[in-house]
């Protein structure tokens, strides 16, 4: 017979390890960690929050939780103020605008103290991602709220958002923080049936349910934000920086305006950028009987379906969708016919959003190339123009919905 394998490493742990004490410690530790996570995330701990920079977003292996984002709102916004949550993609995140020149800072200035503007936009997010989920989750606590996000014409506003931010949607859905809304439920059922395996869905469910009980994601985000981070990632290139608490990273967004307008656009990217600019309308239109550009019925139908289910009916009216036009420099390179199609796309998209019950508008048509940093992102000057336009629309929505009526301040 062969020699038996060792059943122990020979390490004597008895002087420090008592199984019963360990088990009691394990249970007590889990309860304590869970309690700490609940407390800190509810209260909020982002003392210097400006926006979700790369180190505070999935790009930097940091996944803000729903409760953490709600905590930021609670920390900043009193119940007597109107909560303005900004969602959308990198344009609304303010890429190319330093923290002090960010368009949402200007928006806050223009709206005044009765409003609190929170920039919850993420790079590459849809208008239904991130900020949209948080706004809906806070609808009870902050009934006087406006949600603003950007989109491009006929980009389908899937109600479940898109990866890598979809985790927030699942978190909110499974914890019962979203409204019951049949059209959205249908879309979610379709998503589950077509894009996930049963094992993946079970795992997501297991993760979210366990997190609801233990709140481990809140705990680790709190540790990662306030104490030290444990995951190396591409946005913190050196090993020591990877361990830094994420609060140590200042919002150091570069300034487009540091580069003269003439040098901002890279000639080598022109062809690629033009393909994108054409893509804003190219696949959506065909010719009508009189040769005019006409929105394809299939595109209209798909958009209507997704727009209908994107937000619950009672939240549609407080949702402002801003359609982002491209840098006029590139639009100017389109042929006259293509420009007509481009204009039709924005005109029709705004009309479709409005028809679905949302507030909608486009921006960028009267902007100067200097208002942009590249094809799509705005410079601080462009941001100021956007802020002015959005502030007016928000005040209009707030007026329509009765948010501006004087109420006694809370005790």
């Amino acid at each position: 017979m062969s020699e038996p394998l060792p059943l122990s490493t020979g390490l004597d742990r008895s002087w420090f390890f008592r199984p019963k004490t360990f088990l009691a410690g394990l249970v007590a530790g889990l309860v304590l960690c869970s309690a700490v996570a609940r407390r800190v995330s509810h209260r909020g701990y982002h003392d210097s929050f400006t926006r979700f920079t790369q180190v505070l977003s999935p790009e930097g292996q940091y996944f803000p939780t729903l409760e953490e984002m709600c905590g930021i709102a609670r920390e900043r916004c009193r119940p007597d103020q109107v909560l303005v949550i900004v969602g959308g993609n990198s344009i609304f995140n303010g890429v190319g605008q330093p923290a002090d020149k960010m368009w949402t800072v200007e928006l806050q200035r223009q709206l005044g103290g009765g409003f609190v503007v929170l920039n919850f936009a993420f790079r590459g997010a849809l208008c239904t991602d991130g900020g949209a989920v948080v706004a809906e989750a806070l609808r009870g606590e902050y009934p006087r709220q406006v949600y603003v996000a950007n989109s491009s014409p006929f980009s389908p506003p899937h109600p479940y958002g898109a990866d890598p931010y979809r985790y927030l949607f699942w978190e909110a859905l499974r914890s019962g923080r979203l409204e019951a809304f049949a059209p959205r439920d249908e879309q979610v059922a379709w998503l589950k049936a077509h894009q996930y395996t049963r094992a993946e869905l079970f795992d997501q469910w297991g993760r979210d349910e366990m997190d609801r009980a233990l709140r481990f994601r809140d705990l680790w985000n709190w540790v990662g934000y306030t104490r030290y981070f444990t995951i190396p990632n591409p946005v913190t290139p050196t090993l020591p920086q990877a361990t830094w608490a994420r609060r140590r990273f200042a919002d150091t967004e570069p300034d487009f305006e540091a580069t003269p307008p003439g040098d901002r656009l890279r000639p080598e990217f022109r062809d690629a950028e033009m393909r994108i600019v054409r893509g804003f309308s190219e696949g959506f239109y065909d010719r009508g009987a009189g040769g005019e550009w006409r929105l394809k019925p299939s595109i209209r139908a798909q958009f209507e379906r997704t727009a209908k289910s994107a937000f619950p009916d009672d939240l549609k009216g407080r949702t402002l969708i801003m359609l982002s036009r491209n840098n006029p420099f590139y639009v100017g390179l389109l042929s006259a016919d293509e420009r007509l199609r481009d204009s039709a796309a924005f005109r029709d998209a705004v009309a479709e959003w409005r028809k679905a019950g949302y507030e909608a508008c486009d921006y960028g048509s009267g902007y100067d190339p200097a208002d942009f940093g590249d094809r799509t992102h705005l410079s601080a000057a462009g941001g100021r123009k956007l802020a002015g336009q959005v502030a007016g629309l928000i005040l209009e929505i707030a007026g329509k919905r009765g948010y501006l009526q004087k109420e006694p301040p809370p005790p």
């Binding site: 017979m1 038996p4 394998l5 490493t9 390890f17 199984p19 088990l23 394990l26 094992a199 190396p232």
Partner: protein, 397 residues
């Protein structure tokens, strides 16, 4: 990683709770057997289960017969199945492609048409454990008569995916003794090992992987310190990854009252290469020793045979890790290292002096061993040209 899925977590919680709620020890074994089947079916699927079931049945029957030729035939079948599922494409590419690309191409297509998309889950572990079982029975050991106990030995879920490679002579007594009475000590020990394993895997190994993946492409532009840091990260990562898995498996087994063999015992504290292989992936290295090296003749037929046997054994050990040449080279690298380690003392004058030096300064032996083992991980992780280039940069050559 199966252990980090929530399905597994839910499954493990239900199984451990259910196992101890079942009132009788015999019923517990039935319950555990059913749970192991569910686990195997969930993760392997029908295509992955079918070949394992066939191998399990023939192994059981061959063992029961105690017929030496039957045992040998089934051992060959197990090894054949392992080669077929895991190494067919590698062998076709390695052996046929240079001589007849057309034949290799048609064989590849034929193999792909009959093989599942991926090898059956844990096929290496099944093959090794069945060979061990039949070898021992063929050498006079008692076969497992109870089919349930054989099933439990074969598909015991904690060790099914990543070992340790069990010995039935140890496993069954532990299972029979452990299932009789619930002990809080086992629960504590089990949770400690599981927590340790998850910490090693998720906190240390996965982070080191991220670091290595981000840094290794720029290896040439790093300074000497940065390059050695990458190698150290690689060394830490593989230890924490493998031993983390083993800890989790050992921990879950312990929750069921079963003590599995240890797989790692502070290998980076080894003072020579032989010591290293007594501490690194112990269940695999002992298996290779007992069922490859010793049957080949071990060290009994002179230096040349000993060297050859060592190289064969370690070449196979390398190949076990994956169907690629760099794994084989890594195995041969260690085989050569062990040959030197076992014979340097015979070199006149220098040998005894070196030996004395290592006895007097054990830290020198430890440093040399770890330098050898850590550098070897380059071969384990990267194709030969890349590994050689990295080694040259590492040593400034």
């Amino acid at each position: 990683m199966i252990f980090t899925t929530y399905w597994f977590l839910a499954f493990a919680v239900l199984v451990v709770a259910g196992y101890w709620l079942v009132p009788r020890a015999a019923w517990r074994l039935w319950f555990l057997g059913l749970a192991c089947v569910v686990f195997h079916a969930h993760f392997a699927g029908p295509a992955g289960m079918a070949p394992i079931i066939v191998l399990m049945i023939v192994t059981y029957l061959a063992g029961l017969s105690r017929d030496r030729r039957a045992c040998l035939a089934v051992m060959a079948l197990c090894v054949g199945a392992l080669c077929f599922y895991k190494y067919t494409l590698f062998l076709v590419n390695a052996a046929l492609e240079p001589w007849s690309p057309a034949l290799a191409g048609s064989l590849r297509s034929a193999a792909k048409s009959v093989m599942p998309g991926a090898p059956p889950l844990g096929v290496s572990f099944f093959a090794f454990e069945f060979v061990h079982y039949l070898f021992e029975v063929r050498s006079g050991g008692a076969p497992i008569r109870n089919p349930l106990k054989f099933v439990l030995f074969a598909i015991f879920f904690p060790s099914l995916v990543a070992g340790p490679i069990k010995r039935y002579t140890q496993f069954l007594p532990s299972l029979e003794e452990g299932c009789v009475r619930f002990r809080l000590d086992n629960l504590g020990e089990g949770f400690l090992r599981i927590a340790t394993g998850f910490a090693k895997k998720v906190i240390i190994a996965d982070n080191l992987t991220l670091y290595v993946d981000a840094t290794q492409p720029h290896f040439a532009s790093l300074g000497p310190f940065g390059r050695w840091l990458v190698v150290l990260a690689l060394s830490g990562r593989i230890l924490m990854d493998f031993s983390g898995y083993s800890d989790i498996a050992i921990g879950f087994a312990r929750l069921l009252g079963v003590t599995l063999p240890e797989n790692f015992n502070w290998p980076y504290l080894a003072r020579n290469l032989q010591d290293f292989w007594q501490r690194w992936h112990i269940s695999l290295s002992f298996w290779i020793r007992d069922y490859v090296y010793i049957p080949l003749g071990g060290s009994r037929h002179g230096l040349a045979r000993r060297v050859l046997n060592g190289l064969i054994a370690f070449g196979l050990c390398g190949l076990w890790h994956g169907p690629a040449w760099h794994f084989v080279l890594w195995g041969l690298y260690h085989g050569l290292g062990l040959t030197v380690c076992g014979s340097y003392a015979r070199v006149p004058v220098v040998g005894p002096l070196l030996r004395k030096g290592f006895v007097r300064e054990p830290l020198a032996g430890l440093a040399l061993t770890q330098l050898f083992a850590c550098t070897g991980w380059l071969l384990f992780f990267y194709p030969l040209p890349e590994a050689v280039q990295m080694a040259r940069l590492l040593f400034g050559l």
